[in-house]
């Protein structure tokens, strides 16, 4: 049994909120730079060049990459041999988000009630997903999610008979409908299987996987490659203004499902696909 003070959780999450909003992970940065070299459209190349410039300015000036600094999605993988002291773990997570967004000059984009819409003024609450794992460590992933692309995400409850062709159609439909609204080039997170909510969570987790890391399952790896190619032939392009770079990656996660179903979730993220990971 290892004892961990929840103040450490708060502090880590505070720092991760600020870091994630000011710099992208190396894989994302490389993917955007590579796309800028390969893009066919002159305007598309200009836009991708501006995105590279934008990342540089964000780091230099400590100004968020995007003004939509997102709703904070936090994944907590908690080792079953960890004992927390110093207060509620859940409160500590939200406190980290509150401090990060307040001290880090990040935008407060969360409203208390979906209908009455009063801003909470500190970007809390976060959306927190826990899982209990073996060991005595805590792995924290903070993924601030912007809503331009979140709004274009979809869940499709397909029939088993729809099969892999149905999955392809669903993903391409979601991407085509998203078009310029989702700030392409996008990263497409896909969850296949599970239940209604499980496939959505898989799609969200797929966005956290590095864009240069392919699935370990052969047919999934092939599906990722085929969908990426098809998406990039759609013509949507950088900023939706035409071109050969519509997505930087398609990341797919799968899970067992029911004999009667084939759930598919498509969680779209813009090119500002932010996340940080820390192990305490």
């Amino acid at each position: 049994m290892r004892t961990l003070n929840v103040a450490e959780i708060t502090n880590a999450i505070k720092e991760m909120c600020i870091e994630a909003n000011h710099s992208l992970s190396g894989d994302m940065e490389r993917a955007i730079k590579t796309a800028a070299d390969r893009e066919e459209s002159p305007l598309g190349r200009q836009i991708l060049g501006q995105l590279c410039e934008n990342m540089r300015i964000a780091g230099e000036d400590m100004i968020p990459i995007c003004q939509d600094t997102g709703m904070a999605v936090v994944f907590m993988e908690v080792g079953q041999d960890v004992h927390f002291e110093g207060g509620s773990l859940e409160d500590a997570v939200h406190e980290g988000v509150r401090q990060g967004y307040t001290d880090g000059f990040l935008r407060k984009s969360v409203v208390r009630d979906p209908i009455y819409r009063e801003n909470t003024n500190d970007n809390t609450p976060a959306v927190v997903h826990y899982s209990i794992v073996t060991g005595d460590k805590v792995k924290i992933t903070v993924a601030p999610k912007g809503f331009g692309s979140e709004n274009m995400s979809r869940v499709f409850m397909l029939k088993p008979a729809d099969g892999i062709e149905g999955v392809k159609k669903a993903v391409l439909t979601a991407v085509k409908d998203a078009g310029p609204n989702a700030c392409p080039p996008m990263v497409v997170g896909v969850g296949i299987g599970g239940t209604f909510e499980k496939c959505a969570l898989l799609a969200k987790k797929a966005l956290i996987r590095p864009v240069d890391k392919r699935s370990e399952t052969e047919y999934v790896r092939e599906l990722e490659a085929e969908l990426l190619e098809k998406i990039n032939r759609s013509g949507i392009g950088p900023g939706g203004l035409g071109g050969s770079t519509t997505a930087l990656a398609v990341n797919i996660e799968t899970y067992p499902t029911h004999i009667a179903g084939l759930p598919v979730a498509v969680n779209i993220c813009c090119h500002v696909n932010r996340h940080g990971v820390r192990i305490l």
Binding site: S109, N181, G237, G239, G242
Partner: protein, 183 residues
């Protein structure tokens, strides 16, 4: 073709722009997004005045991140314009000449753009740090309680944007995508 434009627009200059033009805007623009548009619509319904002169002006669909001390504004890129589609035609009919945002618009907005000789610009979504460098000053002029969604008066210098929808109803989102589609 790059064009340098003064805003608010002078006369019918907005009509002379064409979809695909790359422009640099200098002058004064106003920010408003979801909540501010809702309030402006309510004000119009009650016969009250809007918080800024709409005629010949440009609205930027944007809610910035907070400014660090000594800076005019935080990150300041466009938000998705379609959420303002419900409100835009009424403002265009009052003389609004330009909108800056990102993403597709409805048929009703396109018709109002054509009817009023207006223009819809896209700024590069997700380039809020870069775009903030074109904003010289920012002042909240209305609905301060809305936080990032308050109406701001921005002074901009060479703010980069692309004409997506022009006064003749051309739509770059449709034409440019067709050009690069391989099916």
């Amino acid at each position: 073709m790059d064009k340098y434009i003064r805003v608010p627009f002078d006369g019918s200059e907005a009509e002379s722009l064409s979809a695909g033009n790359y422009v640099y805007l200098s002058g004064i623009i106003y920010t408003a997004r979801d909540a501010a548009h809702k309030r402006m619509a309510e004000a119009l319904e009650k016969g009250e005045k809007l918080p800024f002169p709409v005629k010949d002006n440009v609205i930027y669909y944007m809610g910035p991140s907070p400014a660090r001390p000594g800076r005019p504004i935080g990150s300041a890129g466009p938000t998705t314009a379609s959420r303002m589609d419900k409100y835009a035609p009424a403002l265009l009919d009052l003389g609004l000449k330009g909108m800056i945002g990102k993403g597709k618009r409805t048929k009703e907005v396109k018709e109002a753009v054509v009817r009023n000789g207006a223009v819809y610009f896209a700024a590069v979504g997700g380039a809020g740090a870069l775009l903030s460098r074109s904003i010289v000053s920012s002042e909240v002029i209305a609905y301060e309680d809305l936080g990032t969604e308050a109406v701001r008066r921005l002074e901009v210098k060479d703010f980069p944007a692309i004409v997506v929808m022009d006064a003749r109803g051309n739509d770059l989102y449709e034409t440019a995508v067709c050009k690069y589609r391989k099916e």
